[in-house]
């Protein structure tokens, strides 16, 4: 087996090595190999860099190639592949479901118990390699007007699309997006594209909020950490001139106090979607929720159709991701990109693919 697949491998918290690995082989007729062009850094990558993993950990014995937000150029295709051909520029959907279980067949492959997601310990390697193998239906050709750098953001945009679709957002509704990280920004942009009458964005970080205001043109709210969530919700409604509260809340921080504030800010019958991941156990104001018949939905990654919608939003110009790209580092400086993200420098930092 050729060992010419230069990769960025994590051996533990803070332990990264760059080494050759086996070139993936086309084993299923639907497989394709992609020459990776760019890989984005996500909060989860930073978590791996700092702690070696979230639930399952990497180790010296079982190191892991990192990265899951990626774009590239099709390199080789299996015999049954018809959707793409070598040379096609593609965005990559980095989770491969089993296709045979109840969840897969019901149209919810994102919750397939046998999902193989890029950079998931112990053995599902990520996209920070010269070549990466995927089934062809998880590669999406991008239009000429979209750069390979922008194509990396199709992945987080699809997370945002998934959350907005779960909310069943209808034109004319009001939306509160909590968090101005990549997901919050894209969730707000998507909510606008879905016809929300007003989108309000909240973040404790004023610099992020300022960027968001420029990027989206939305009204902003700064949570007051000395108030209770209930008090903050009252203030939000007053500042945003909302008598009843918002119709939809998209929670993109994972912070408990934020979720509570969001729920208190909802109008009766409103929908709360938890997109951000944070503390495993969090308290919610159930009594207030019952009295308002609040609908709560939880969102995980992206489901059938989300990538297509994300690409359509980009192609039609309804959402632009270019402003979110803050920096690009060479492949062997991947740790630098993780560090920048860890320190809150930039929004989306990219790592260039292996150069010849």
């Amino acid at each position: 087996m050729a060992q010419d697949n230069f990769s960025c491998v994590l051996y533990g918290a803070g332990k990264v090595r760059f080494e050759d690995r086996p070139v993936p082989e086309i084993s299923d007729p639907h497989d394709i190999l992609i020459r990776i062009s760019y890989v984005g850094v996500c909060g989860s990558d930073v978590h791996f860099w700092m702690h070696g993993g979230v639930i399952r950990m990497v180790s010296e014995e079982e190191p892991l190639v990192m990265g899951h937000e990626a774009s590239g150029v099709v390199h080789t295709v299996g015999p049954a592949v018809t959707r793409v051909k070598p040379g096609d520029r593609v965005a990559i959907e980095p989770g491969f479901p089993c296709r045979r279980c109840k969840q897969c067949k019901e149209g919810r492959y994102n919750i397939c118990p046998k999902m193989k997601f890029a950079a998931d310990p112990p053995h599902t390697h990520g996209t920070l390699s010269r070549l990466f193998k995927i089934p062809d239906d998880f590669a999406y050709r991008i239009s000429d007007s979209l750069s390979l750098q922008e194509a990396v953001l199709v992945e987080p945009l699809s997370v945002a699309v998934h959350g907005v679709r779960l909310a069943e957002l209808r034109p004319g509704q009001t939306v509160l997006v909590q968090g101005c990280g990549t997901i919050g920004l894209l969730a707000a942009a998507t909510a606008k594209a879905y016809g929300a009458r007003s989108v309000f964005i909240a973040d404790i970080n004023k610099a992020k909020l300022d960027f968001a205001k420029g990027y989206l043109g939305c009204a902003t709210f700064v949570p007051d950490l000395t108030s209770t969530p209930e008090q903050d919700a009252v203030r939000l409604k007053r500042e945003m001139d909302l008598e009843d509260g918002v119709d939809v809340v998209l929670e993109c921080t994972g912070i408990e106090a934020s979720a509570q504030t969001g729920i208190y800010a909802l109008s009766a019958g409103g929908v709360f979607v938890q997109i951000g991941l944070g503390k495993p156990l969090q308290a919610l104001p159930l009594l207030a929720m019952c009295e308002k018949e609040t609908v709560v939905k939880t969102a995980f990654r992206y489901a059938p159709g989300d990538y297509e919608i994300a690409l359509e939003l980009l192609d039609s110009g309804k959402v632009s991701v270019k402003p979110l790209i803050s920096s690009t580092v060479p492949f062997e400086s991947a740790a630098e990109a993780w560090e920048r993200t860890r320190k809150g420098e930039g929004i989306k930092n990219l790592i260039q693919g292996v150069q010849d």
């Binding site: 639907h30 296709r99 045979r100 279980c101 109840k102 897969c104 067949k105 019901e106 149209g107 919810r108 492959y109 089934p135 062809d136 239906d137 059938p304 159709g305 297509e308």
Partner: protein
Amino acid sequence: MTLTGENPSFVLHKVHEVSFEERPIPKLSGPRDVRIEIKQTGICGSDVHYYTHGAIGSFVVTSPMVLGHESSGVVAEVGSAVTSLKVGDRVALEPGIPCRYCDHCKAGFYNLCADMKFAATPPYDGTLCRYYILPEDFCVKLPDTVSLEEGALIEPLSVAVHVSKLAKITPGSSVVVFGAGPVGLLCCAVAKAFGATTITAVDLVPARLELAKAVAATHSFIPTRGDSAAESASKIKEVLGGKAPQFAIDASGAAASVNTAIHVLAQGGTYVQAGMGAPEITFPITEFTIKELVAHGSFRYGPGDYQLAVELVASGRVDVKKLITHRVKFEEAEEAFKLVVKGQGVKILIGGPTA
């Protein structure tokens, strides 16, 4: 005619021309496949239509094709990665293999897969043979209390389940089912299992309506030939004490039934088209619009339907045995087709070669 061979199969060559052929024992195509020894096969209007017309719509029989798709059997061989079944398990076969890669498959609508390989829809062979290959996830294991004969009814029952799920039939509701053939009868049964409390079967044949009532219907109605759809609908409402139903299912394919259904439905009601008849008909579009009706087309069955069908039989909530009127041996398969052509019987079962 060798019926003691390895894989005897009942083959359609062209209209009205069938024969028994010895075919090779099929091989597993992958580690997740199973090979099933067929024990019982029911036949359906579509099988008979290929027998009498050689085609359904754009699906044309151009080379010899094994008939049959409503089967149960016993697992004879399992692939190396099969975990849910073992040799000897009795199963109901879900006889359509989707591609799993297209948008429909991934979005939860594998029944709409453009590359669906469906048994006894040209060019794919059916199940009137000894052995058939399916992926393990398209076989549903039958509990000990469910017979292989009942197992062969799971296919049409799954059609009825699919219809009822699309309609979203709710407890306490009123449903009218047009057509009391096997699908219509099973729609009545599933509607009842889903909690409908008023179930009206409509057909021209009194004997079929008697069976409908034995199965699940609470009311029945025979339309008068010559009455308009609005008149028939009015009479059905009278039978129902003036209350229009929330759900109407057509399992007849007859234009008159479709029209009557639209007229009989309550405002905001739901209509599901299960039956297949003339490809184009005249439709009461104004009535449909002003009542804000919802209409669904229904095609075969999708995720979860087979599992629910087996559960309905196993729990006793649906009794499919009532629909079995004739049983023939494998060698007499053509007899079964002729009986259906003559309009006799409800569900005729053909035993497998080693039944």
